[in-house]
């Protein structure tokens, strides 16, 4: 485990900012304790200072992870956000998309959200903006990228994609071995 370098921090923050904007300050600077990002086995973990101190007692080879895994760095050092970060993205999300009950299942199986399954979308969402996907009961289902801006969504035809799927909570069952 080691702290992130400048470049790595920049890449990670940029990615997370796509979904939560400047609210990322609330993750970095928390009133209820010191929380930090650490890199271990090419994965980024977010944990409290107390947990960090405990985890530092375990040998590097035997430690699998600690805290919450936000995502991982790929071979070419690009940052890929994972579904395990949803707990921290959902409360601070800037742009949200609500999905109708009928197409919830479809999204949870990894499909993109179609116009016909779109319930609500926050105003002023740009195209290719990072969005958090909710069910109609305000349960966070995952996150993705808006395929169309809010304006365009209004005039799109029913079979057009409105949200590109990136991660959903169904992945906890489908690809649980990759999440660790």
């Amino acid at each position: 485990m080691r702290p992130l370098t400048e470049e790595e921090t920049k890449v990670v923050f940029e990615k997370i900012s796509k979904y939560i904007g400047e609210n990322i300050k609330l993750l970095v600077d928390r009133p209820d304790g010191n929380y930090c990002f650490r890199l271990h086995r090419e994965r980024i973990y977010y944990m409290s200072e107390r947990l960090l101190k405990l985890a530092s007692c375990i040998a590097r080879e035997s430690l699998l992870g600690s805290g919450t895994c936000f995502g991982k760095f790929t071979k070419t050092h690009k940052f890929r956000l994972q579904i395990t970060a949803l707990d921290f993205l959902a409360p601070y999300a800037k742009h949200k998309v609500w999905v109708k009950p009928g197409s919830e299942q479809s999204f949870l199986y990894g499909n993109h959200v179609v116009k016909s399954g779109l319930g609500r979308i926050t105003e002023n969402t740009l195209q290719y903006q990072g969005v958090v996907v909710y069910s109609m009961a305000d349960l966070p289902l995952g996150f993705g990228v808006a395929a169309k801006s809010t304006q365009e969504c209004r005039h799109a035809d029913p079979m057009a994609l409105v949200v590109f799927h990136q991660a959903d909570i169904g992945e906890y069952i489908r690809v649980e071995n990759e999440l660790i």
Partner: protein, 369 residues
């Protein structure tokens, strides 16, 4: 028949006589015996005539006789019974046997031995164990579980003239490392001296058949060993950049100063947020388009909902289209990027107005608007 019998009898008698003859041997001069080496020395001169007649037979007989005498002598030695077998106890060998190998050369004195001899230092016999006062027992003088081990000290006094913030324990540790390293260096130097090996003052000694990797390292080092650290050295035609020459990365400590870390991260965040433009052109345009739509909707309502469908299509053609498509490919790049437009240009005034602005220089329009 009779002759055959006679012949057989004669043969048997001859054999008997032979056997009887074998035990006792008469010699003019006594033999010298060395039973320890199973050696018998016969100083009797050779019988010339018999020797010439039948050389091999004579020598054989002489040898047989002498062997018989030796064995008779051995029988006279004290015997013992080992495993039911009667065995003679041989004494020590008297004859000195010459050396197989040449006499070994005297080893040259080591540097210390030379010095000790010069100074007259004699080696005092020290006992292996020393009394350890702290543990109240006898412990070896050096090595594992040694007596009076300084490393066991949990308290080290800071001397008066020393820096109070200096780590005394670290100092002791580094001193020990230094001693060990010096000892090792001297040992290797002595070996090189004794074997008359040529060792360079700095760097590794040359090898007869270096490996590819070693050659590569040597090449890169030689290239660097100039006043400009290899900046103006030409490469060979097929020379590749050496691997593993970069500086080793150094990371922050795992549990560093959290305040510091937070400050740095907030700094990075502010940099990221500064990169984004304050005014997003596409967003502004879309907003305006939305406003227009709403205006048009309220107008339509006032007039009546009969021409709803027609109006919708009309509106779509005018307002529901992205600003990019209207203004042609010149503006397309800017709009798509979603806000690389500069702050403060204030072009979110309206699509119609922008169409007119496009004809003239963009910067100039600012004031006139």
């Amino acid at each position: 028949m009779a002759t055959q019998l006679d012949a057989l009898l004669a043969q048997a008698e001859a054999a008997e006589e032979e056997a009887k003859r074998s035990v006792t041997v008469e010699k003019p001069l006594e033999l010298h015996f060395d039973p320890g080496n199973l050696l018998a020395i016969d100083t009797n001169p050779l019988n010339e005539t018999e020797f010439r007649l039948d050389r091999e037979g004579y020598l054989k007989n002489t040898a047989r006789d002498n062997a018989q005498l030796l064995i008779n002598h051995i029988w006279s030695l004290p015997t013992e019974s080992v495993d039911g077998v009667v065995v003679a106890q041989l004494p020590e060998g008297k004859t000195p046997i010459p050396r197989e190998k040449p006499v070994p050369k005297a080893k040259p004195l080591t540097r210390w031995e030379q010095f000790a001899k010069l100074k007259g230092i004699k080696n005092r016999k020290k006992s292996m164990k020393v009394w350890d006062e702290q543990l109240k027992e006898w412990r070896p003088c050096w090595g594992y579980k040694r007596a009076n081990d300084k490393e066991r000290d949990w308290l080290v006094e800071v001397p008066d003239n020393a820096d109070p913030y200096e780590d005394q324990f670290a100092k002791l540790k580094s001193a020990k490392k230094e001693r060990v390293a010096r000892n090792e260096f001297n040992r290797l130097r002595n070996i090189a001296r004794n074997n008359k090996l040529k060792v360079p003052g700095v760097g590794l000694p040359t090898k007869d058949d270096p490996s590819k990797q070693e050659l590569g390292t040597a090449l890169s080092l030689a290239k660097r060993a100039t006043a400009s650290i290899g900046k103006f050295q030409e490469s060979l035609p097929k020379e590749k950049k050496p691997r593993g020459t970069g500086k080793r990365r150094k990371f922050e400590p795992l549990i560093g100063d959290f305040l510091h870390e937070k400050e740095r991260q907030l700094g990075i965040l502010s940099k990221i947020s500064n990169k984004e433009p304050k005014l997003d052109v596409t967003k502004a345009v879309n907003k305006h388009v939305l406003e227009e739509e709403q205006e048009a909707a309220t107008e339509k309502e006032k007039r009546g909902g009969k021409r709803k469908k027609g109006g919708k299509s009309e509106r779509r053609s005018k307002a529901g289209v992205k600003p990019n498509a209207r203004h042609g490919h010149k503006r397309k790049g800017k709009g798509k990027d979603g806000g690389k437009g500069k702050v403060g240009q204030g072009r979110g005034a309206g699509p119609r107005r922008m169409a007119s602005a496009r004809g003239k220089a963009g910067k100039g329009r600012r004031g006139k608007k």
